[in-house]
């Protein structure tokens, strides 16, 4: 049975693995302090808990010097392999158990995002998330094919789990006095640990801001599990989620949880819905004499799952006008299906809209566009780029489609 959610599952896999790798990179220099014998969480409590859960056979010797470092490094390797679909489901299962071991070793440093990863990963491993973004070509394997027959069921299990996260957090909040009287956001934004900007004070002085956001959060969380199943309401609920989680990240610096939750939204999007972007192709003109530009183009093609980006060398291809070519040589040009031309940072933004991996950073890109900071940085980079016309031969040509 073909899994109509394979693109979304792939996106979730990539993003979750990326977040795991990022977390582990942060742990790496402090591996001994976090997980070692004299780590900040008592080692004897770890042993005690492993025995309590009946997982003695999984006990990793964190007490031996350098072993915590080796463990974290192993998790980074496993997450990278799984991200590139090397080793298939087996690597996914090992990664899952490694995360469980880390959780038991020092649960106090973990947060909600780790919890979401932990409960989503087993179903993600069973669902068909390895069809796209593969380092090696997929080999047919009867065991894998057998599991794949039931992939859709496991995909729905991920969706139900995500709904559980929102419905139960919404229900718990509903019991809180501060959420019910509409003032909770005042406290969440002012508590020193989560007050990421000085704007938090100014914003929370406005009672309309506080009350509207408090009730929006509460109702949105309670509505998610019901509205996410319908095509007409799904994308509206996602827009609300992006607004909420990006807001939490910017104003409260809760990064991991926001990104992990957003990454799970992709699972709800069918391949057909992704492909409905098909008629929104973008022709991107790249300077073939610039190695950085060629590299950028080739990298973009690697993550262009929806096949919406068509790359062309501006020096060789047919362009609408000489002015277009001249301008395109200074900053990356693009033409969409409606024939509208864009240059520089605007082209970057249009590319990001068409590539799901970049959707999470879209709000930031929009802010960069509105403030014109994006254009400034783009121009700085574009002017300083290297152009090598002499060494260029057919091998350095970008892939064109």
């Amino acid at each position: 049975m073909e899994n109509k959610y394979s693109i979304g599952l792939t996106m979730t896999r990539i993003l979750i693995c990326f977040i795991i790798i990022k977390n582990m990179c942060f742990y790496l220099p402090l591996a001994e302090d976090y997980f070692g014998l004299n780590g900040i969480f008592p080692y004897e409590n770890y042993i005690e808990q492993m025995n309590f859960y009946g997982l003695k056979f999984l006990t990793y010797p964190f007490h031996i010097p350098h072993f915590p470092f080796i463990f974290i490094l192993t998790v980074i390797i496993l997450a990278t392999l799984y991200m590139l679909a090397i080793g298939g489901r087996f690597v996914g299962v090992v990664l899952y158990f490694a995360i469980i071991i880390l959780k038991i070793r020092n649960g106090f440093i973990l947060d909600g995002s780790d919890n979401v990863i932990q409960v989503v990963l087993p179903f993600l491993v069973l669902a068909d998330n390895l069809d796209h973004f593969r380092y090696f070509k997929k080999k047919t394997n009867i065991i894998s094919n057998f599991i794949s027959r039931y992939s859709v069921i496991f995909t729905f299990a991920i969706m139900i789990q995500v709904c559980f996260v929102y419905i139960f957090t919404g229900l718990a909040k509903h019991e809180g006095e501060l959420w019910r009287n509409g003032t909770a956001v005042y406290y969440t934004m002012r508590v020193r640990d989560f007050m990421a900007t000085d704007w938090n004070i100014t914003l929370t002085k406005n009672h309309y801001f506080v009350v509207i956001l408090t009730y929006f959060t509460l109702f949105w969380e309670l509505a998610f599990p019901f509205l996410v199943w319908f095509k007409k309401t799904k994308f509206w609920i996602f827009i609300g989620g992006i607004f909420l989680h990006v807001g939490i990240w910017v104003f409260m610096r809760i990064d991991n949880f926001s990104w992990v939750m957003l990454s799970t939204y992709f699972v709800f999007i069918t391949n057909d819905e992704f492909f409905s972007f098909q008629n929104k192709k973008l022709k991107v003109f790249i300077d073939g004499w610039c190695p950085v530009c060629r590299n950028f183009g080739n990298r973009i093609k690697k993550v262009d799952f929806l096949n919406l980006i068509m790359l062309e060398d501006i020096r060789d291809s047919k362009v609408p006008s000489i002015e277009f070519r001249n301008k395109g040589l200074l900053s990356m040009a693009s033409i969409d299906d409606n024939g509208k031309s864009s240059f520089g940072f605007d082209s970057i933004l249009k590319i990001a809209i068409r590539i799901p991996v970049f959707w999470l950073v879209l709000p930031i890109l929009f802010i960069l566009k509105l403030t014109k900071i994006g254009n400034y940085f783009y121009n700085e980079l574009a002017i300083k780029r290297t152009i090598i016309p002499i060494h260029c031969n057919e091998n350095c040509k970008i892939k064109t489609f």
């Binding site: 942060f26 742990y27 220099p29 001994e32 302090d33 976090y34 004299n38 780590g39 900040i40 969480f41 008592p42 409590n45 859960y53 997982l55 007490h63 031996i64 010097p65 469980i100 038991i104 020092n106 106090f108 440093i109 973990l110 909600g112 919890n115 932990q118 409960v119 009867i142 065991i143 027959r149 039931y150 069921i153 299990a157 139900i160 559980f164 996260v165 139960f168 957090t169 718990a172 909040k173 019991e175 809180g176 006095e177 501060l178 959420w179 909770a184 406290y187 969440t188 508590v191 020193r192 640990d193 990421a196 900007t197 929370t204 002085k205 506080v210 610096r253 809760i254 990064d255 949880f257």
Partner: protein, 246 residues
């Protein structure tokens, strides 16, 4: 390899000759998932008689593989600024004793998080917050217990000893002592001190900032805050400088 081939062959046979087996298998998976999410649903509901009856079974199923704790800012968000402070009492080789000033552990972590969108300080901050919340919660529970038991409520010395012993069994307290080694290591290394013996005491400072009705008051003026604190006794800490195997 042989094992894999064996499984493959068995699955092949099942797949080819027993088409209904596949359907049955599919319904089997669905049934397992329905039970799985049913258990999780029951586990996360408010306390009720059914949940109470199966409390231990539910916990043993959910933890550690399917832990569900979706209560960030719920039922009520944290509305107090918690600060962790530590001070050390150390003895040098020549027998002289010294006491450090209170070292603010929380402030540098908050500063780091504020300055960086992605910061490892977030994890340490999360760790200290969890420890402090755990100590705060247990502190309340132990005090409640002391007031409930007559023999403790009437005997201050006994109550104090009970409090200390009870607190020493909590994760929060033990983790703070463990974390203090990390702080001690950096403090003594930075100040080029090699102590013979080190004791630590910690303080959890709970600062209640102005409530919503007083939102226009100056947030940064500490006169508008209400404070309460938990200060521990001195505890001896060992193995500060990585003595593996001791």
């Amino acid at each position: 390899m042989i094992f894999q081939n064996l499984i493959t062959s068995v699955l092949n046979i099942l797949g080819r000759f027993f088409e209904p087996a596949q359907i049955l298998f599919k319904f089997g998976i669905i049934a397992i998932l329905v039970i799985h999410f049913g258990i999780l649903f029951l586990y996360q509901l408010n306390e009720n008689p059914i949940q109470h009856e199966y409390k231990y079974k539910l916990h043993s199923y959910v933890d550690p593989f399917f832990s569900q704790a979706w209560t960030l800012f719920a039922p009520n968000p944290i509305n107090t600024n918690m600060s962790l402070l530590m001070r050390f009492n150390y003895q040098m080789e020549n027998g002289t004793s010294h006491e450090t000033e209170w070292i603010d552990i929380t402030e540098p972590l908050i500063k780091d998080r504020k300055e960086n969108f992605w910061s490892p300080a977030q994890r340490i901050s999360k760790f200290t917050q969890s420890c402090m919340s755990n100590v705060n919660d247990n502190h309340k529970l132990i005090l409640e217990q002391i007031t409930k038991v007559d023999s403790l409520a009437k005997d201050t010395i006994k109550a104090k000893s009970f409090y200390k012993n009870a607190l020493m069994t909590t994760y929060g307290h033990n983790s703070l002592l463990q974390y203090s080694k990390y702080i001690a290591r950096s403090y003594f290394s930075e100040n080029n001190i090699q102590p013979e013996r080190v004791e630590i005491r910690y303080r959890i400072l709970n600062a209640k900032f102005p409530r919503f009705s007083k939102r226009d008051e100056d947030y940064y003026n500490l006169n508008n805050y209400e404070f309460n604190e938990i200060t521990s006794d001195y505890y001896l800490i060992k193995n500060i400088f990585y003595n593996y195997g001791e």
